[in-house]
C-alpha cells in the first residue's frame, strides 16, 4: 500500500470497479486517458497515486463525475458509513459489520453505500424528532394540564348530553341547568381546542424552546448579550434567569479578566495548575475557562448542578448529549463530585455515538446563612473534546448518555427507566 494512505487506495479501486462495470478493457481506457496500460494497472491496484488531472481524464473516459472517483469525498463517506454502523439498533448489535472493509464497500457499491448513509441519517433525524416530541408529551406541564381539562370537559359533555338524550322526565330546573352546562362546556372545549392547535403548531419549529432555562441558554449561546438585552426574552422567569447569569459572569470576569486567564491558559491546559498559577479558586477558573472561548478552550462546555442534582447551567460542548431540562444521565461524573466536595475529579467519558470527552468535575459547599444555616452544595463539570484536553485520564472511558429515556444503551447499571429509542 502506498504511503499516501487509504484515500487513494480507494480511488484506484473505484476506477477499476467503474471500468469493469462498463466491461471495458484496461488497455482501451488507459489509451483514452493518455497513460500506459501498465500504469493504469498499478493505479487500479492502488500502487500508484492519482493526480487531479488524471482523475478528471479517467472520469471522462469512464463517463462518471470526477468526484465519484476522486479523493476527498471518500473520507467523509467512510466516516458516515462508520457512524451508521455505530448507530446500529440493539437488535442488530450481534451483526458485527466489517468496519475495516468500509472503504472497499464504498468503492464497490457507492450507490448502496449512499442509501445506507441516507437511511442512517434519516433514522437519526427521526430519533431527534421523537425525542423532542416525547419530551413535550411527557414533561410539558401546559400540554398535560390542557389535555386533562379537555378530558374533563368531554366527560361532562358526554354525561350531560346522555341525560338529555334519554328522553325520560327531567325536572325543568335540572333541564335548564344541564343546557347551561352544555353551553359552558362546549365553549370551554372550543377555546381549549383552539389553544391546543396553536400550541401544537409550534412543534413544527425544530428544536423549539419552551422552558425559561432553554430560552436563556439559547439566548446566551447566540453571543454575550448585555444585561439590558435580556428584555428581548419572552418570559419574566427567563429575563430573571438571564440577569442573574449575566451579572455573575460580569462579576467573575472582573475578578479574573479574559487576558489574564488566556495568558496562562495558552501555555498550561490543566485547570488545576492554571488555578494554582493564578491563585484563584478552581471552580471560578473552570467557569471562566468555559466562558473564555479561546486559548484551546474554544469547544469547552460546562454543566452546573445544585445539591439536588438539578442542572442550573447547561453550556454544552459540541457533540455532548444533553437532554431537555429536568433530566440527565446519572453516570455523568458531575454527580460523583457532589459526593466528594473540594476534590477535583478527572474522567474520560464516551457518548453512545462514540464521541470521547475529557471532563473535570468539582463540587463546592457554602453556608450563606451562617453556622446554623443550610449547607448548599454546587457541582460543576468542565467538558472538553478528548483530543483537545491537557491529558486523557488513564482510566477507561465511562459510557454515558443524555438521560435514560433517550439513551440507546441497553446494558447500564444506572438505568432507571426504559429508553424510547430502542424498546429496552
Amino acid at each position: 500500500m502506498s504511503s499516501r494512505g487509504p484515500t487513494h487506495v480507494l480511488t484506484g479501486t473505484r476506477i477499476r470497479e467503474r471500468r469493469l462495470s462498463l466491461s471495458r478493457r484496461q488497455a482501451d481506457v488507459a489509451r483514452a486517458a493518455g497513460i500506459s496500460p501498465a500504469y493504469l494497472n498499478l493505479i487500479e491496484h492502488n500502487r500508484r497515486p492519482v493526480g487531479e488531472d488524471l482523475v478528471q481524464r479517467l472520469a471522462e473516459v469512464l463517463e462518471v463525475p470526477s468526484d465519484e472517483l476522486a479523493e476527498g469525498r471518500e473520507e467523509a463517506r467512510i466516516a458516515a458509513l462508520r457512524e451508521a454502523a455505530a448507530r446500529l439498533p440493539d437488535a442488530a448489535r450481534g451483526l458485527s459489520p466489517e468496519l475495516e472493509q468500509a472503504p472497499e464497500f464504498l468503492a464497490r457499491f457507492p450507490g448502496w453505500a449512499a442509501v445506507l448513509v441516507a437511511s442512517a441519517r434519516r433514522s437519526e433525524a427521526l430519533e431527534r424528532q421523537l425525542v423532542a416530541l416525547s419530551d413535550r408529551m411527557t414533561q410539558d406541564p401546559y400540554l398535560l394540564t390542557t389535555l386533562h381539562e379537555v378530558l374533563s370537559a368531554v366527560t361532562s359533555l358526554r354525561s350531560t348530553a346522555s341525560i338529555l338524550a334519554e328522553g325520560s322526565e327531567i325536572p325543568e330546573d335540572w333541564r335548564q341547568r344541564f343546557h347551561a352546562n352544555l353551553n359552558e362546556d362546549s365553549l370551554r372545549l372550543s377555546n381549549m381546542a383552539q389553544a391546543l392547535v396553536k400550541y401544537l403548531d409550534s412543534f413544527e419549529t425544530d428544536g423549539a424552546i419552551f422552558t425559561p432555562q432553554e430560552e436563556v441558554e439559547a439566548w446566551m449561546a447566540a453571543g454575550t448579550p448585555p444585561v439590558e438585552g435580556s428584555g428581548d426574552l419572552a418570559s419574566d422567569a427567563a429575563r430573571l434567569l438571564a440577569r442573574v447569569h449575566l451579572e455573575r459572569i460580569a462579576e467573575e470576569r472582573a475578578t479574573l479578566p479574559d487576558e489574564e486567564l488566556a495568558a496562562v491558559a495558552g501555555d498550561e491546559r490543566d485547570p488545576l495548575r492554571i488555578a494554582a498559577e493564578l491563585r484563584q479558586p478552581l471552580d471560578l477558573v473552570m467557569r471562566r475557562l468555559a466562558q473564555l472561548g479561546r486559548a484551546g478552550f474554544e469547544r469547552a462546555g460546562l454543566l452546573v448542578c445544585d445539591g439536588s442534582g438539578a442542572l442550573t447551567l447547561r453550556r454544552p460542548a459540541p457533540g455532548f448529549p444533553l437532554p431537555r431540562p429536568g433530566d440527565a444521565c446519572p453516570l455523568w461524573p458531575l454527580y460523583q463530585a457532589l459526593a466528594a466536595p473540594q476534590t477535583a475529579m478527572s474522567h474520560l467519558v464516551i457518548t453512545p455515538e462514540g464521541r470521547r470527552f475529557a471532563t473535570l468535575s468539582y463540587a463546592t459547599r457554602r453556608q450563606p446563612g451562617g453556622t446554623g444555616g443550610p449547607v448548599l452544595t454546587q457541582a460543576q463539570m468542565l467538558i472538553l473534546p478528548a483530543e483537545t484536553a491537557a491529558a486523557s485520564p488513564a482510566l477507561p472511558a465511562i459510557p454515558i448518555g443524555p438521560s435514560c429515556r433517550i439513551c440507546p444503551r441497553t446494558v447500564c447499571a444506572a438505568r432507571r427507566e426504559p429508553s424510547i429509542l430502542r424498546g429496552s
Binding site: 389535555l147 386533562h148 378530558l151 374533563s152 368531554v154 366527560t155 361532562s156 359533555l157 358526554r158 354525561s159 350531560t160 346522555s162 341525560i163 335540572w174 341547568r177 344541564f178 352546562n181 359552558e184 362546556d185
Partner: protein, 119 residues
C-alpha cells in the same frame, strides 16, 4: 342516616351530572369539590362508597386514597372506592382502589358499577 356515596370531584358540571344520574337511581350522594380536606370529608360522612377523582387540586385522589387505606379505623380504611381517572389505570391505582372508571365514561357504566359496589 347512612350516606350511600361521597363523591370528591373538582369539576362542578361532572359532579352535577353524576349527582343527577345516581340520585335518580335512588342513591344518596354528597359532593366534596377539593382534594384538600378530602379525607376529613370521608371520615365525617362515613359513606358506603367513595367516588374519587384522581386529578384534584391541592391533594390528588391517589394521596387521599392512600390516606384512607392507612386510616387507623379499620372499617373506614376498608371503604370501597371507585376511582375516576383521565390518565389510565396504573398498577398502584388498581391495587388500592376497588374499581377504576376511565373518563369520559358512559352513564350506564357508572350506574352499573355503583350498583355492583353497593349491592
Amino acid at each position: 342516616m347512612v350516606l350511600d356515596i361521597l363523591m370528591i370531584e373538582d369539576e362542578p358540571n361532572i359532579a352535577e351530572a353524576v349527582r343527577f344520574i345516581l340520585g335518580r337511581d335512588g342513591w344518596q350522594l354528597q359532593l366534596h369539590a377539593d382534594g384538600l380536606g378530602g379525607i376529613e370529608a370521608i371520615r365525617q360522612a362515613r359513606p358506603r362508597l367513595v367516588i374519587l377523582d384522581l386529578m384534584l387540586p391541592h391533594r390528588s385522589g391517589a394521596e387521599i386514597l392512600a390516606d384512607l387505606r392507612s386510616d387507623p379505623d379499620a372499617a373506614l380504611a376498608a371503604t370501597p372506592v371507585l376511582m375516576l381517572t383521565a390518565r389510565g389505570q396504573t398498577p398502584e391505582l388498581a391495587a388500592q382502589a376497588d374499581a377504576v372508571l376511565g373518563k369520559p365514561f358512559a352513564n350506564d357504566d357508572l350506574r352499573a358499577q355503583v350498583r355492583r359496589m353497593l349491592a
